[in-house]
């Protein structure tokens, strides 16, 4: 996705369109830029620089506080589109993923066509633009995706791989930062293809264990498969409070909200959880967790009630609390209890649930 957080903010607030926007923290309090709009980038504002510096570079910069839950919602939309095309989706972040489209739901023979259709679908669904790279392997696709932005589509067909490689500087590679690139340049290695002819011992002295990997990439070889995202094992959130919480009712409200979030996450992933865990850190940093396991559920009221009962098993309300968390574990795809509590044949009382 192009300038993802900033684009979402510009989409949702017309007043921000066409203006230099940075999403991130407060320049007064060591905030950093999480994302910069393309307008801001022309001033040299980019992610990971301090917001204070960003404001110096671009005095007209509009600073927007991040709303991660909103970005996550958009991300879910985009990933749903990805997964409707192929199950082989390997996320790199909220807004970036590798897709293996060798087989795809549209039966498109060309990766390029898949990329075009996906870009259109993303724009239709979210109003946002994405840039894609189409190539025979992950390493080339990643570089290609950044070749033209925003709204770019770069294709490296197999027969064009060699000419593409010829023009790549060594620091185009992932894992080769400015320091390593500097070292390689000192040894006369400017372009990626120079790695091919470099003395293996010299290369090893310069980049260590990266040498073998670099030599492969220099020949355009990358056999890493696209690995679909691992099934999540748990999900949860926690919050450290600026001021310790004292009131049990307040603590309960916080826990209830986090439990509700966990339930919504389960629903969005079409999962059920058997275990609900809460975490409480007291003012003296003593941290405890309390868990409760029963039949799988993603019912918000049920998860909230279970989290509430766990609160009763802590000193929350008696001791000041600085951090609270709620998480769900033991996730299952179905409501059927895959790991029954019962020892096999024992029948349960027919309580209505």
């Amino acid at each position: 996705m192009d300038a993802f957080y900033a684009s979402v903010e510009q989409r949702d607030n017309p007043a921000l369109r066409g203006r230099p926007v940075a999403v991130g923290g407060d320049p007064e309090t060591r905030g950093v830029v999480a994302a910069a709009s393309y307008e801001a980038r022309t001033f040299g504002v980019r992610s990971a620089i301090s917001m204070a510096k960003a404001v110096r570079l671009c005095p007209s910069l509009v600073i927007v506080r991040p709303d991660i839950s909103k970005y996550k919602a958009v991300s879910r939309q985009v990933f749903e589109l990805f997964r409707s095309v192929t199950p082989l989706v390997e996320p790199l972040s909220l807004d970036e993923a590798y897709l293996d489209v060798t087989e795809n739901a549209w039966d498109e023979p060309l990766g390029t066509s898949v990329a075009k259709r996906l870009k259109d679908a993303i724009r239709a669904a979210t109003g946002l633009t994405a840039s894609a790279g189409v190539a025979p392997n992950k390493f080339l696709a990643k570089i290609a995706s950044g070749w033209k932005k925003p709204d770019g589509l770069t294709v490296i067909a197999p027969e064009r791989v060699e000419s593409f490689l010829q023009q790549l500087p060594v620091d185009a590679l992932w894992g080769v930062g400015p320091v390593t690139a500097g070292k390689l340049r000192d040894k006369g290695i400017e372009r990626l293809v120079d790695v091919r002819t470099a003395d293996p011992a010299l290369l090893h002295d310069t980049v260590g264990s990266l040498a073998g990997w670099l030599r492969q990439l220099a020949r355009g070889i990358d056999d890493r498969p696209v690995i679909a995202e691992h099934e999540p094992k748990s999900s949860g959130s926690e919050n450290t409070y600026a001021q310790d919480l004292l009131e049990i009712d307040h603590i309960r409200r916080e826990i209830a909200a986090m439990a509700q979030d966990a339930a919504e996450w389960l629903a969005s992933r079409e999962l059920f959880a058997r275990t609900v865990t809460i975490k409480v850190r007291y003012h003296d940093f003593t941290t405890i967790t309390r868990s409760h396991t029963e039949a799988p559920t993603r019912n918000g009221a049920n998860i909230v009630a279970r989290a509430m009962a766990l609160v009763s098993r802590t000193a929350a309300g008696c001791q000041p609390v600085r951090l609270l968390g709620v998480s769900v574990h033991n996730l299952t795809r179905t409501l059927a209890d895959e790991q029954p509590r019962d020892e096999g044949p024992q029948l349960g009382l027919p309580f209505e649930t």
Partner: protein, 371 residues
């Protein structure tokens, strides 16, 4: 603070606190007992935030005050002392516990750290007969689930009506319900039911307290807490949040096959036969036919066993399996010499009841195991 207390009296109270204080010790102050000296008595208080106990004993107080001491250590020390006067005093160097020629200095924790507990108001106080409550606890407690599976099952439901009271516990596989009639009570309005889920630990500690105390129980239900006062001691318990399952609906009405057993005979048969049951399931099978019930078991690892019990039964033949422990749990506490087992079929709830019980109604519902 400075006080002198009789060892035996003090020890008897401290012993009651041993089950109350937090064992996991995540919050250090909860391992301590709060000791307050005033007038001519010493008051003690300990809690794990779920259950609290307040108690007292006579003392000669030279200087009033309050402090906290580790409940377990204090108990061990007092227990080890000869039968004499114990002196506890605090100076700027710490807390001294001394008796006879023994002298000790014990680490204390700030009194201010001790949690504040709710107080009974006395407003809605009702009187409960001690022995009846004790029996109700003994006959249901074992059916509370030990793990946190369904949290509301981590306690027993106490139902107080104007003319009766009930305690019911279930772990989802079996259910124990005891109801006792009580004299008409002006405080409870006609037909009104007051329900509360009591944590397992509360029942355990209340059971111990009732065994140690005399007189009736003064019971009060606060907003989030329950208060049980008996013999000058007060047990305070949190209520468990949540909806207790509709237990009345799983008590079957139409069990048409009924068999009476001598309790002791059945207990012994089940105990013996269970020795060769499957170690995991602990299943014993009741093979029922005219005039006899054969209790059988088999274990792929060890072999098999059977024991025949002659009974009066004229119905059709059937077989039903139970977890032996569930059956024994009931037989261990039931109290009457004869017990009745009523059944419908091999997959529906079975009911066990005492025969000839006086003053209480005891129902034990037990789910069979698949054969």
């Amino acid at each position: 603070m400075e006080l002198v207390v009789r060892k035996n009296e003090f020890l008897r109270e401290l012993q009651l606190f041993q089950g109350i204080v937090e064992r996991k010790n995540t919050i250090p102050i909860l391992a301590n007992v709060l000791i307050e000296a005033k007038d001519s008595e010493v008051r003690m208080l300990a809690t794990d935030l779920e259950v609290a106990l307040r108690s007292r004993c006579d003392a000669s107080v030279a200087k009033g005050g309050s402090l906290t001491l580790p409940a377990k250590k204090l108990y061990e020390i007092i227990k080890a002392l000869p039968e004499t006067d114990v002196r506890i005093d605090e100076d700027k160097n710490g807390v001294r516990v001394a008796a006879d020629r023994f002298d000790s200095r014990i680490q204390t924790l700030p009194r201010e750290d001790f949690p504040t507990l709710p107080e009974a108001t006395g407003a809605s106080r009702v009187v409960l007969p001690r022995d009846a409550v004790r029996e109700m606890i003994a006959k249901t407690q074992f059916a509370i689930t030990g793990e946190d599976t369904r949290y509301f099952l981590n306690g027993a439901l106490f139902v107080l009506r104007s003319d009766s009271m009930s305690l019911v516990a279930t772990d989802g596989h079996r259910l124990a319900l005891v109801s006792v009639a009580r004299g008409a009570d002006a405080a409870a309005k006609d037909g009104e039911e007051a329900k509360a889920i009591l944590p397992k630990k509360t029942l355990l500690e209340l059971g111990k307290l009732l065994a140690e105390s005399d007189g009736d129980i003064y019971y009060e239900r606060g907003e989030n807490h329950l208060f049980f006062e008996v013999g000058g001691r007060m047990l305070i318990s949190r209520m468990i949040d949540g909806q207790f399952p509709a237990y009345e609906r799983v008590i079957p009405k139409g069990n048409d096959k009924e068999i009476e057993f001598e309790r002791e005979r059945l207990t012994n048969a089940v105990k013996r036969v269970a020795l060769l049951s499957n170690e995991r399931s602990r299943a014993v099978k009741f093979e029922i036919d005219k005039g006899r019930v054969e209790v059988t078991s088999s274990s792929s690892e060890f072999g098999e066993a059977r024991e025949q019990i002659p009974v009066e039964y004229n119905g059709g033949a059937m077989a039903i399996s139970f977890n032996a422990q569930y059956v024994l749990d009931f037989l261990n506490v039931v109290g009457t010499d004869i017990v009745a087992l009523s059944l419908k079929d091999e997959v529906s709830q079975a009911v066990m009841k005492p025969v000839g019980a006086a003053g209480y109604d005891y129902t034990y519902v037990i789910m069979p195991m698949r054969i």
